[in-house]
């Protein structure tokens, strides 16, 4: 599990606000869709990938986003209903008018 106490040892807290070469978890969660969509510029992409190596919690977050997308995909409704009688009647009237 991600543990700031050991994983980030040696980084005083203030470093995160000034260090532009890292993203915080709060910034990370806003980059997930761009990451999925291959839309991150190279620099941001390496920040995101480095963060994922460091942070199990954000890895969990990414897995949840992926599970969300996967479960949405399964909602797809393949059922098909018949056109209503009035719709078919309108279409037939069109055909009759054209003939």
């Amino acid at each position: 599990m991600h543990n700031p106490g050991s994983r980030h040892d040696g980084h005083p807290a203030s470093d995160f606000s000034v260090a532009a070469d890292e993203v915080t978890c709060q910034q990370f969660v806003e980059l997930v869709t761009d990451y999925f969509e291959d839309a991150l510029p190279p620099r941001a992409l390496s920040h995101v990938e480095e963060h994922l190596v460091m942070c199990d919690w954000c890895l969990t977050y990414v897995e949840q986003m992926q599970a969300t997308v996967d479960s949405l995909r399964k909602l797809k409704d393949r059922s098909s209903r018949e056109p209503s009688d009035s719709l078919l009647a309108t279409l037939r009237a069109k055909k009759a008018a054209g003939e």
Partner: protein, 220 residues
């Protein structure tokens, strides 16, 4: 598959001209094919505006009626699918507005378009040891692929979708449920790639948050 064909439900080989000519001529076979192919997506989109499947089904029928009766006036200034899609959303909005007048005020969800992906309270504050890092991290979901398939979870998902602001919902439906590409959705809704991603991000993030609430609640 271009966006308009995805909406019109046309096989790739069928051009807009072909479809327009067939509908104007009252060609029932082509019409039935288009109707059947487009039905699930149209219903899904319509369902985002109204509270029941039955009303969403009615909207699809009304939309097709407007297409069949209006096809003579289609001038080809936009792609056929874009034209059909705008009829669909107009029909859905009209029904939705009618429904809302009949619903208690509390059932209308405010559109929180600018909301962050995750509640800011779940991250450490500036005066804490690791500002911007998780204070209340997400807990791994156990067997999500199985649990999210349950009927109850599917109802939760539908509910989560229904709570999204309109454009976010449309984009999540078209991208994630119907499987359209980013380009197709941008064409259809006349959005830039960047705006499409922003809205997709807000929508998906909100759905994840609601699923988290549901799954964590079930585990508790």
């Amino acid at each position: 598959m271009p966006a308009d064909q995805a909406i019109a439900g046309a096989p790739a080989a069928m051009s807009d001209e072909h479809i327009v000519a067939a509908l104007r001529a009252g060609d029932e076979r082509t019409f039935r094919e288009l109707f059947e192919r487009s039905y699930p997506m149209m219903k899904r989109v319509a369902r985002g505006y109204v509270a029941s499947d039955a009303v969403a089904e009615e909207i699809v029928q009304d939309t097709w009626m407007a297409i069949v009766t209006g096809i003579e006036r289609f001038e080809g200034r936009s792609a056929l699918g874009t034209w059909m899609f705008s009829i669909l959303t107009n029909q859905a909005k009209t029904h939705g507005a009618r429904e809302r007048r009949a619903l208690p005020f509390s059932s209308i969800t405010p559109a929180d378009v600018e909301a962050p992906a995750v509640d800011p309270d779940r991250f450490q504050r500036d005066d804490q040891a690791w500002p911007g890092h998780w204070a209340t991290p997400p807990r791994p979901w156990q067997k999500p692929e199985r649990r999210l398939l349950s009927l109850e979870a599917r109802e939760q998902l539908k509910e989560a979708l229904a709570q999204l602001p309109e454009r976010q919902r449309l984009i999540v439906v078209l991208r994630d449920i119907e499987g359209l590409s980013a380009e197709e959705v941008c064409d259809l809704l006349r959005l830039s790639q960047e705006n499409q991603r922003v809205l997709l991000h807000r929508g998906r993030s909100r759905v994840r948050a609601l699923l988290e609430e549901y799954l964590d609640g079930a585990d508790a």
